[in-house]
């Protein structure tokens, strides 16, 4: 199934198709195909590890499958899936931190180690340093930064996803960029 087929369906059309019992499986298949790339990037940037990303992504879609019949479309399907993905990522990080007894201060070190060990991604010169600077941000700030900087989501969309006010998001993003810039300054 090519990308062209996916692009022809909007989220609205996919939801209509999903509500048709005979086509719900096919519609969900298309939803997974359409949203996997963006959700993968978001989760991967949060947890760094590729295997963890696979597991979380799978859970996101399973949860979506169970909850889709009750989805009221107050927000777009994409925003709703982002919301599930961000909640799952943060829950996973917190659970892992508790399980591995990682103190808050060591979270950055832990993520940096994951970055260093990541053989699947070939970071260009300087990019790894940029990524390492991002790992110094607190989880929620990192989530906001990734959604704004990489995924180009609007503050309104991020507000729907995170449940935070637009003003607070703007402040959070501003602080994040300042912190990253300061870390990237040559000594």
């Amino acid at each position: 199934m090519g990308q062209e087929t996916l692009q022809t369906y909007t989220d609205q059309e996919l939801m209509e198709m999903f509500r048709d019992e005979n086509r719900s499986n096919y519609a969900f298949n298309l939803i997974v195909r359409k949203h996997t790339p963006a959700l993968y990037r978001l989760i991967r940037r949060m947890v760094i590890d590729s295997d963890d990303t696979d597991d979380i992504l799978q859970n996101v879609f399973i949860k979506a499958w169970r909850a889709l019949p009750k989805f009221r479309e107050d927000a777009s399907l994409g925003t709703w899936l982002y919301r599930i993905a961000s909640n799952e990522s943060i829950t996973f990080i917190n659970r892992k931190r508790k399980f591995l007894f990682i103190p808050l201060q060591s979270q950055e070190t832990y993520l940096n180690q994951k970055l260093e060990a990541d053989s699947l991604v070939d970071y260009e010169k300087g990019e790894k340093k940029f990524q390492q600077a991002i790992t110094t941000l607190p989880e929620k700030q990192r989530l906001v930064f990734n959604m704004k900087f990489y995924e180009d989501l609007t503050y309104e969309e991020i507000s729907l996803i995170t449940g935070t006010s637009v003003g607070a998001l703007k402040a959070s993003y501003h602080i994040a960029t300042k912190k990253i810039e300061s870390l990237l300054q040559p000594d």
Partner: protein
Amino acid sequence: MSFEEKYKHYKNSRNLDVSEDYINKTVERVSDKISSPRRNARPFIWGFSATAAIATVFIFLIYPMAFRQTPNKPITKQPTETKQNIAQSPNDIQAKDSGALASVPVKKETVSNDELDQEAVIEYLIDEGYEEI
């Protein structure tokens, strides 16, 4: 220059793009999970937790209450006073001073306060041959 412009090259990095093969595998994995009978561990966990909670309550609360042995009541009466002590009333002291009690054989038989009966004591002493008391 804004932050986005300054780091545009990182922003547009495509190194986290997923392949068509990865998408197919994700679809497959998700489909397998959805279509397979739901193997939910929750009922087992809840069942186990409930059993453990009931067992704990039984062991620590119900069992000790239901099968607790009542503390053994002493078969013999607690020694509260001896006859030596009984002979401490002013009369006795007086008698003692007069030497009347000097040779009274004292039995260290225990008697409770309930049984402390002055008349019985006097009777006992008379029986023992101390009529002058």
